[in-house]
Symmetry: C4
Subunit: 264 residues, 4 copies
């Protein structure tokens, strides 16, 4: 099996911007992307499947299952640039898979003529911020200038940092394809189970200004709560898988204080 | 080496149902599948080998070895739908291997015209249940309706869970191929060395009703005991492999308090 | 880079037996194979290289380096079956690599018309044995009968065990190619730094009888000592690599109690 | 995505020597290579990208990002042999990737007619050396003789050591292609955050003599400090990534002392 994209239909998009919001710190990216899709009635048109995703499916409350995928949504905006959003439950679980999946996302972007990419993440601070700032990183100077106007902070005095996963790789791999890309990172405590609506709001403000679009924030808190509930279930499941393996080993240890039978 | 299937013969099967029971919680899936094969005199007709299985062989009591494989059995039922069972000692040991092996199982299923899949697993509860319930998850609504009639529970109020490994992936990957698939999970304590005959019986009851077949349960307990004995040996071996590596490192540590020689 | 074999020359071999002795418990396999090569003046004719070996080279005392490889030696015996020996410093460091390298070894074996394989390993007992027994496992009944005559023990009452790595996989993958293969395992304490000359001697006795060849044992102890010295150096190096990584992380931990900078 | 090299231009090089200085013990290799590039005004002409590098990008102080790459620089020397330098932020993060990337570096070297390779590393001593020695290892006797004259120590009495990573593999894989290669290792404490200018100076002295070139050392200390600062940032980032995962698991553990929901 190779990483592949399954289209349900191919929308016509007007000079679309790609917005990526896969799982990460504070789930800021995910919350931002899902909020956009819901507020602007984005339509799913394609699913990306990969053997590099965790080998499992999720069960919905009605008993139907969902494979792990990254999903593409189209947001049509009359007389404005359209938006192509990529969301998903997971990033790749292998190193080479991270590159493979990001390349495939860029293939889709290219097919729809994407020239600009916005990736969204959280910037872990270890503590709660009253008013989270939004840091930026980008792959060309023009986009830094553009997003600086809208309030993102690009220049830093301190140590160089880095961006791990899709939010970073899409900038790097996008650059190799001549796509202009920025990563917007809202300050967030970085606690794994906190879904940070405040950080998401700050990022959405910047994206709204950039897109020339008023983004209603009323439902944002509710969505953060829903996402938190979903993630609790998902992480509980993964935790159990780990505990299971550990318990297995412990119980083994107790039972094998007899003579050694293993053959090397 | 690629994952491949080696046929000893190709049976003619009448509209077969695929039943998968690879190792997992409480070995419920495995016990269910092996019980069906033994009670209904299933014949092995193919073996799946993969470089993604743990790199080892098992020794039988007569000194003959067994490679790790997933094995296909055909159960012929006069004037009824036939059954195609897949059993094995192990699931893939790598992430991409899980996908690759499940795809190969579905290739075999497709070749024999399988349209319906039942995967069997355990639902770990952390404690013993007087009368284990059977939870279900499926990739289409019709099959949920069908198995709800037979007693499987699909709708849950609480958090979404997930299904890790082949029992889950076969549903997801099956869906991509238009195959209808259900996973039946018997409540089980989840203790790694308990082979849960009670949970298996509850699942077998549902499968029996679905297949219109009385399944004798007399030998089920005995088979659970045999499987338990086999698994004890297998897990002991794996434990030893891990201990060996650890002991190696410890002993190394003691001996290398001289000056450092390693070159980086 | 693919796993490949580099021939320096291709010997003509008379119905050769393949003997494998890669690193494992008590280094019994390695000691047995190296002893045979030295006593019977085996000539190296091919080297197997693989990207699945640990990514490092070894330094000899004169400053020359050695890549990690598995090496093929030919032992010519006038009017008797010849012997093809495979030795090396390492087994594959990845799961799929274990399969890939064993397949390549079998490709070489097949090219020289090998029909019989002997793999050699240690059977870890956790304690020193006065007179180590030799356990066997095989992929067909005839070879069990043959080696039982020479003193190997195949039938066991207790739990099934397993054989991890090349010594096991060559039996399994050999079987798929119709090659007859036995694994001979000398009882050994299983202490990682003990090179077990006594266990090796017992295995050599059986191989000698099978091959109709008197194997001089005078140098065996000396060779065990040399191998022990070599392995001490090798394992020290690997240990250092691990310590280095750990030290790096610790030192990092100390220095990063300032505010969190990482971006997710 | 495959490992690939992107050329900005292809310089004409006169019988060039390849010098490799990727991250390793004491960052000796990196410091040596970067010093050479800066002192002799090396021009970058190609970048190597790979899906085997860590899946992340780095942020520079101006907000621009850098993908992880290994970079090729050309140093032109009138009437002398030219120098081809390879530097980078990272080595491969997977086992097979180490081989793949080294093969690609050698492909580039071959294209420019490289016949001699110098790799540079640190030799971890666990303590500070007043005047660090430089140890050598090589893939042919001539180059040992040559560099012995310039002060590198090749013959050792004690245990064989090894060279992990690119500095070692380039010697081994170079040998398979008939390239002559030496690894120069300056004694260094091996503390992960110490960038060892003294060890680098000793190695540079030897390289200078070999190349018939006076290498100014005035800026070496300053460059060590800069590299140290950069690495502190980079490692902090990686540390955070690990902590994040751990914190996630801990927090999970606390929240899941309810009944078990995971399905196996």
């Amino acid at each position: 099996m190779e990483t592949f994209v399954k289209y349900s239909k191919k929308p016509k998009l007007n000079n679309p911007v790609l917005i990526e919001g896969l799982p990460g710190f504070g789930q800021v990216g995910r919350l931002v992307s899902e909020h956009l899709v819901k507020e602007f009635k984005g339509k799913k048109f394609a699913e990306l499947y990969s053997p590099h995703f965790p080998p499992q499916v999720m069960i919905k409350n009605d008993g139907l299952i969902d494979m792990i995928s990254n999903n593409f949504f189209a947001i049509k905006r009359p007389k404005k640039r359209d938006i192509l959003v990529v969301i998903g439950e997971s990033q790749a679980a292998t190193i080479t898979g991270q590159y493979e999946i990001c390349e495939k996302i860029l293939d889709v972007a290219k097919e729809f003529g994407v020239k600009d990419i916005i990736t969204v993440g959280g910037y872990a601070m270890g503590r709660l911020m009253k008013r989270p700032k939004v840091y930026g990183a980008a792959n060309d100077k023009k986009i830094i200038k553009e997003f600086s106007k809208h309030g993102a902070i690009f220049k830093t005095k301190g140590d160089r940092g880095g961006i791990v996963g899709a939010s970073g790789l899409l900038l790097g791999l996008g650059q190799l394809r001549g796509m202009s890309a920025v990563c917007l990172m809202g300050e967030t405590p970085g606690h794994p189970l906190l879904i940070d609506a405040k950080a998401a709001e700050e990022v959405l403000n910047i994206i709204g200004t950039y897109l020339g679009e008023e983004i209603p924030m009323g439902e944002l808190d509710k969505r953060a709560k829903e996402l938190e509930k979903f993630r609790l279930g998902l992480e509980k499941m993964m935790k159990k898988a780990i505990q299971q393996v550990e318990r297995q080993e412990e119980s083994e240890q107790k039972k094998t204080e007899e003579k050694v039978k293993y053959i090397g």
